[in-house]
């Protein structure tokens, strides 16, 4: 196995590990706490599904060095301590995938959401 393949295998492993060791347990904790990020189905008692659009700045900056603080501040507003604790591991994973080339193709099977 050459070094490129080794890096790719290592990246795959880290992505899987993050999912198993971070995402899955946090998902359970949030469910136990009754936290839901969106309603998955219609609500027959509701009269409107609109929410106010909230954004205070039409144009803003995002410098790489500010990303950890911006993420923590964002999740702190909603008291999502589980996600605040996730920031450092997320950025560690980000370092691991930083060399991955951006996608070259658009999937024909699913809308490009990320």
């Amino acid at each position: 196995m050459n070094s490129t393949e080794k890096s790719s295998v290592e990246r795959d492993r880290q992505i899987r590990k993050f999912f198993d060791e971070k995402i899955v347990p946090i998902a359970q904790k949030l469910r136990d706490r009754g936290v839901a990020f969106f309603a998955p189905q219609p609500d027959s008692s509701s009269r409107s599904y609109f929410a106010p659009y909230s954004s205070d700045r039409p144009v803003f900056e995002i410098e790489t060095s500010a990303i950890p603080t911006m993420l923590k501040d964002h999740w702190e507003k909603d008291e999502l301590t589980e996600l605040i604790d996730l920031v450092d591991p997320l950025l560690e994973l980000a370092s691991a995938v930083a060399d991955e080339s951006p996608p070259e193709d658009v999937s024909p099977f699913i809308y490009v959401m990320f």
């Binding site: 999912f19 609500d43 803003f60 099977f109 990320f114």
Partner: protein, 611 residues
């Protein structure tokens, strides 16, 4: 010193760049036209270089580069979506992680490195970019705003208001509840490609009956009286897998998704008709609510769903608003333009010069690269391709018109390339709309695409209401309108048949301009104005002089799966690979019969994946 801003959309689909100077659009182009890779999602370096060249500047001279999306909010949505389904969803996370934690997290650095410049990098939110792209180039000082797409960061639908230089979004619907995702789910299920085949679904709809519409509203989407809606996400696959629909969806519609390229059956036709009806109902309700909330008499729209020109035409005819303007590059490519405009007006406080003429400032959407006669002749001479040079534009137009009148197909390459998915006479293939066989011929022998797909008319602006029930300009082919009743011909093989054979329906003459009349007597109209497109206007005028018909078939200059041609080289290649009869490259006219014999090599068909 002028304020010069470069907007970028990238890393999702339809990457693009747009350059705005003191609020004026100088250049805009999609990366796919340069890379020849349809919907190219990669960083649009070629498009950026073109925009800088067009403005005669270097990156260091930019006041800012503006990215059209907030990657941190997108990361927030991806994580929260995953956390909502885990332990399911690894398949999606495996792809998402590489994307949202990769280059998208370090956009500022990536831009500076790519441009080799310490330029200031700014960001907008996705639907703000769409809103800006809809409002600022419009001819309106004030308007209601509707943006509708698959998803940005969280927003999938927004309602807002534009006044002078200010754009404010007021209400939103968030992921996973999305009209774009709903329509894409049906696109996938009917066997077309997601992210590119949605307009095929729209074109298929008139062949079917909306027999599933109530089922869709009962089981898939709940629509409120104010137009807001919520999906039943348990019926879809996009939350936790890499396909749009799953088993629950199949159960609703009696079987699995249609396999791509397999025969389209009555089920797909009826599904297309049904989802189109549901979409239209929702858009109308949203528009009504937007009018009530804002009190404005004009509406502007953007976001990929705003490319649904059938819904747009219906919206216009309902008269909820006095007027309607839709960004021609309504999808993600237009986000680059919106980002640049938003930064210009809201960050750099460039004053907005509102229209005094009632015309928009999109410049006909001819915002891409053009080629001089010298450049074109250099290309032709270097390769030994025979041509005639006809410098007089009227004479040239007459030659083209004569060819069309004799039933021949002409590729027209004139002026700056269009920005947006439609060809508007700068990179177009033209045909005679009077001939009933033109649709089948052009589909099978020129575009190499599905024969059910209709072609669109380009009509002289001042003659539009003689052909179509449309009382205003439609320069960007974003409105579908009925062909006038007196021009229609009753079909002997009506749509009410339950069979699957669409060709039998397609071959029926439907009007005195059958090649551009869809099976429900509708047409996706482009009105051609001499101010926007003098060359194209002249061609159609000459055709009118010869034939008495003020309309031509206008389809995009490409084969199926290929992006619209950008350069003379692209155009020549498409010309010799198809059964086009003549190619016009600015003032150079090439006849197919005169061209050197091409190698009998069909491997080019593998070059472009079928869309």
């Amino acid at each position: 010193m002028p304020t010069t801003v470069l907007g970028i959309s990238a890393f999702y689909h339809d990457s693009a760049a747009a350059l705005v100077r003191d609020g004026e659009i100088i250049a805009a182009a999609q990366e796919e036209r340069f890379s020849r890779k349809k919907h190219d999602p990669r960083f649009p370096l070629n498009a950026i270089n073109y925009c800088l060249e067009e403005a005669f500047i270097e990156p260091d001279e930019l006041d800012a580069v503006v990215f059209y999306d907030n990657p941190l909010l997108t990361l927030d949505r991806v994580l929260k979506s995953l956390l909502s389904v885990a332990p399911r969803g690894f398949e999606q996370w495996d792809k998402a992680a590489r994307s949202v934690l990769g280059v998208k997290l370090h956009v500022s650095d990536y831009i500076r490195k790519s441009l080799q410049s310490d330029v200031r990098v700014l960001f907008t939110e996705h639907h703000m970019a769409h809103a800006a792209s809809a409002f600022y180039p419009s001819p309106f000082n004030e308007a209601a705003i509707l943006t509708l797409d698959g998803v940005g960061e969280w927003a999938t639908t927004t309602l807002g208001v534009g006044e002078d230089a200010a754009v404010r979004l007021l209400k939103t619907i968030s992921y996973p509840h999305s009209l774009g995702l709903l329509y894409s789910a049906f696109t996938y299920f009917c066997g077309f490609k997601v992210n590119s085949g949605e307009y095929k679904l729209m074109g298929l709809a008139p062949y079917g009956k909306p027999k599933y519409a109530e089922l869709i509203k009962d089981k898939l989407i709940h629509i409120q009286p104010d137009g807001s809606f919520r999906l039943d996400t348990t019926k879809f696959g996009f939350l936790d897998s890499n396909v749009m629909t799953g088993h629950s969806f199949e159960e609703l519609f009696g079987g699995p998704a249609r396999k791509p390229e397999s025969q389209i059956t009555r089920r797909e036709m009826d599904l297309a008709a049904s989802i189109q009806k549901v979409l239209e109902e929702t858009v109308l309700l949203l528009a009504k609510h937007a009018q009530e909330v804002t009190g404005k008499s004009k509406l502007v729209m953007a976001g990929g769903v705003a490319l649904n020109c059938v819904a747009n035409g219906l919206l216009l005819r309902q008269g909820i608003f006095e007027d309607l303007w839709i960004q021609p590059a309504a999808g993600d490519a237009g986000g680059a333009l919106g980002a640049a405009l938003l930064a210009s007006y809201r960050h750099f406080d460039v004053p907005r010069a509102c229209s005094r003429t009632g015309r928009d400032s999109q410049k006909g959407s001819y915002l891409g690269p053009g080629y001089s006669s010298n450049e074109i002749r250099a290309f032709l001479d270097h390769n030994g391709y025979p041509y005639s040079r006809i410098e007089d534009p009227k004479q040239r137009a007459a030659i083209i018109a004569q060819q069309l009148a004799e039933g021949r197909i002409v590729g027209l390459f004139a002026g700056r390339m269009e920005f947006g998915p439609r060809a508007l006479g700068a990179r177009s293939i033209l045909g005679d709309p009077r001939n009933a066989e033109t649709q089948v011929t052009m589909n099978l022998k020129i575009k190499y695409r599905e024969s059910f797909r209709p072609f669109a008319p380009a009509v002289l602006a001042h003659k539009c209401d003689e052909y179509f029930e449309l009382d205003r300009e439609s320069p960007y082919m974003l409105l579908v309108a009925p062909v006038r009743k007196e021009r229609r011909i009753a079909m002997s093989s009506p749509l009410e048949s339950d069979g699957d054979d669409m060709l039998e329906i397609v071959r029926q003459p439907r009007s005195d301009i059958p090649a551009v009349t869809h099976v429900d007597y509708s047409a996706r109209v482009q009105t051609v104005h001499p101010q926007d497109s003098p060359t194209f206007f002249q061609v159609i005028s000459e055709f009118e002089r010869l034939t008495g018909t003020s309309v031509v078939v206008n389809t995009s200059f490409n084969v199926r799966g290929e992006p619209i041609v950008r350069s003379p080289q692209d155009a020549y290649q498409c010309f010799v690979r198809t059964e086009m009869d003549m190619l016009v490259l600015e003032d150079c006219i090439l006849k197919k019969a005169d061209q050197p014999e091409q190698p009998k090599d069909e491997s080019w068909r593998q070059e472009y994946e079928l869309d």
